[in-house]
Amino acid sequence: MSVVTIDSVSLKGIAAAVPKLTYSNLEYGHIEMPERELFIKTTGIRERRVAGRHQSTSDLCYEPALQLMNRLGWEKESIDAVIVVTQSPDYFIPGSAVILQDRLGLKKSCLAFDINLGCSGYVYGLYVLGNLLSSGQLKRGLLLVGDKSTVSTAYTDKSAYPLFGDAGSATALEYDPSAGKMYFNMGSDGSGKDAINIEHGGSRNGIDETTFKLVEIEPGIAREKRHLKLDGIAIFNFALREVAPNIRELYEAAGQAPENTDFFVFHQANRLINESVRKKLKITDTHKVLYSLEKYGNTSSASIPLTMITEAAAVLSSKELMLCLCGFGVGFSWGSALLRTKGIVCLPLIELP
């Protein structure tokens, strides 16, 4: 795909929520202390928030959505579309967006559907919802993005368990003829489907006697087939290959230079990957590249809005800014966006008990 644009849509506000429960990777007893320390130093992930049994992905998105609507003064009847981006939906069926349409009290004529994407999902969600609004036939939309990734990671799998944190978010978009262009550049490579994969439970493999059987893959890595599997080397090579060229192409098409960007908000994969991308793009102003992963881990689809809220809320709400967003991961799927924001509403991070 080449670079595409959206006109007449402005980003009005963002809110995000995490569970209160905090896990420290320094206390991850499945591996020895030196390995824990090396893990924290290399990935940058010190702590993560973990949802309890009582908290679903839609719970993590509900509160930010409600508070954001209240803060913006958006009447429930005024919302024309709600999109949920997640890979840990409340149920196989129905999708989580219709559940939230009802729970938020949105009108029945509201469009509500899910998008099944992970780490790249926020950018895709902005693009899809932006397109729904840009003609002006629909005026207001909510993009609800989040994952309870910890529901599918095995404690006995050191390659996945200490990476992920749970989070939900809400982003408000509105039709606005005076808004500037947003630029997008997206890509897909399904040949990477095995690199990040939950093998069992879907229509390919279903559930059988091996689904819940713990199997040791290599020392330190044991999981069941219902668990998330990560191939760290394949993922790292994918990110090195695709992300920087994708962002360069975005800037070229937009006629912009990375130097004029105020913040780069990348999916919070891990510090080693993100720093490699930063160096490839020759971004030397390190403070422009935001990180929330030390405190919240890899929060999958929610990582971009969560990082905006926790690391840049004050400037986002007071200044006009040029932002470069980039999500990349499961699929493989990736996408970047370049947009201007002006005094957007940023609610303080919500912690859910």
Binding site: E35, F39, T42, T43, F236, N237, E275
Partner: protein, 79 residues
């Protein structure tokens, strides 16, 4: 291209926990003290950043020593 010795010392500098002077080109890198899979990612990042070469899982599987890695990097850098 730098020498295998220089490659080794630069790579070891990336492994902050490893004492300099304990790893040589013919050291089996998986036998480095406290070796973990995290080191594989550090190797990939180091080679990508410094030589613009990507090492894949097979490259790592098919190598034992730091010199083996060096030879692959030399070969791929030529291509």
């Amino acid at each position: 291209m730098i020498s295998a010795e220089e490659f080794t010392s630069q790579l070891v500098a990336e492994f902050e926990e490893v004492e300099p002077g304990t790893v040589f080109p013919d050291t089996n890198y998986r036998e480095i003290k406290n070796w973990s899979s995290m080191y594989a990612l550090i190797i990939i990042a180091f080679v990508d950043a410094n030589f613009d070469v990507q090492l894949n899982a097979d490259d790592l599987k098919n190598t034992q020593t730091v010199r083996d890695l060096y030879n692959i990097v030399v070969e791929k850098a030529k291509a």
